[in-house]
Amino acid sequence: MPAGTLYRGREGMWSWVAHRVTGVLIFFFLFVHVLDTALVRVSPEAYDTVVATYKTPIVALLEYGLVAAILFHALNGLRVIAVDFWVKGARYQKQMLWTVVALWVVLMIGAIYPVLGHAARELFGS
């Protein structure tokens, strides 16, 4: 491939890609989540049966992934708003992205115990 034909937009492009991918994933979860919540209109048993799958260790891992997607989309969304409305937003977009990533890492570490704790207790005993 000749040099200079592949667009690699560094932080700006990759944060845009991540925002798009997380957004689509969250939308599909949201669709399923409204459907499972709608089961409260069917019967308490139907709802509790489906919610029980949300408490299994494998789905707990998926929930951790959902939290990761939502937190990145939320924090980066605030960065996008800052780029659009803050006069110096475009100039500091890279610094803001690394702030977003740092905050995201801290929050994800904080979410390990609350989101995955019950799964660990179930797998390894308490």
Binding site: R41, E63, G77
Partner: protein
């Protein structure tokens, strides 16, 4: 510089003499996109601008609503383990949480629906593919919003 300007047309001697004079003016050619009485005031709406603004405004509100929702459902008071019909009934007994969930449902579905519309616009190139994907998206979005709204408003804790 002895070359003289024989006409007032502004065309110099290099280009040759002008065909037109004050008494024999050039024909007036109308601009191709000149506005007439029949032209509407605006030839396009500002839907895309409103959609762009909506994404930012709903986004800020959703950060609060969704992170609060995650804290309540997945972090506080035993995390996901405590969720069940009784827990839902307890929360929806309060109008505050009904309004919270209703606002979250509408804003998130419209925000996500518009996001997916943008994605379809970007990647689906054939007109037929775009039409069907958007038709499917709008149907699913309207269905989900209506179903969720119905569930929040008609929830019955004594269903059984």
């Amino acid at each position: 510089m002895s070359t003289t300007e024989s006409t007032a047309s502004g065309i110099g001697p290099v280009e040759g003499a002008s065909l037109y004079t004050v008494d024999n003016p050039a024909p007036l050619i109308e601009a191709p996109r000149a506005r007439t009485k029949k032209t509407p005031k605006s030839t396009r709406g500002n839907f895309e601008m409103v959609a762009w603004l909506f994404m930012r405004l709903s986004g800020v509100v959703l950060v609060v609503l969704v992170i609060g929702h995650l804290l309540i459902q997945l972090v506080l008071d035993g995390g996901v383990s405590k969720i069940g019909f009784a827990f839902v009934a307890g929360r929806w007994a309060s109008p505050f949480w009904q309004v919270w969930d209703l606002a979250m449902l509408w804003l998130a579905m419209l925000h996500g629906g518009n996001g997916l519309r943008t994605v379809i616009n970007d990647y689906a190139e054939r007109p037929n593919t775009r039409l069907w994907l958007k038709g499917l998206l709008y149907t699913a979005t309207v269905f989900t919003i209506l179903l969720g709204t119905l569930v929040i408003f008609t929830f019955d804790p004594n269903i059984r």
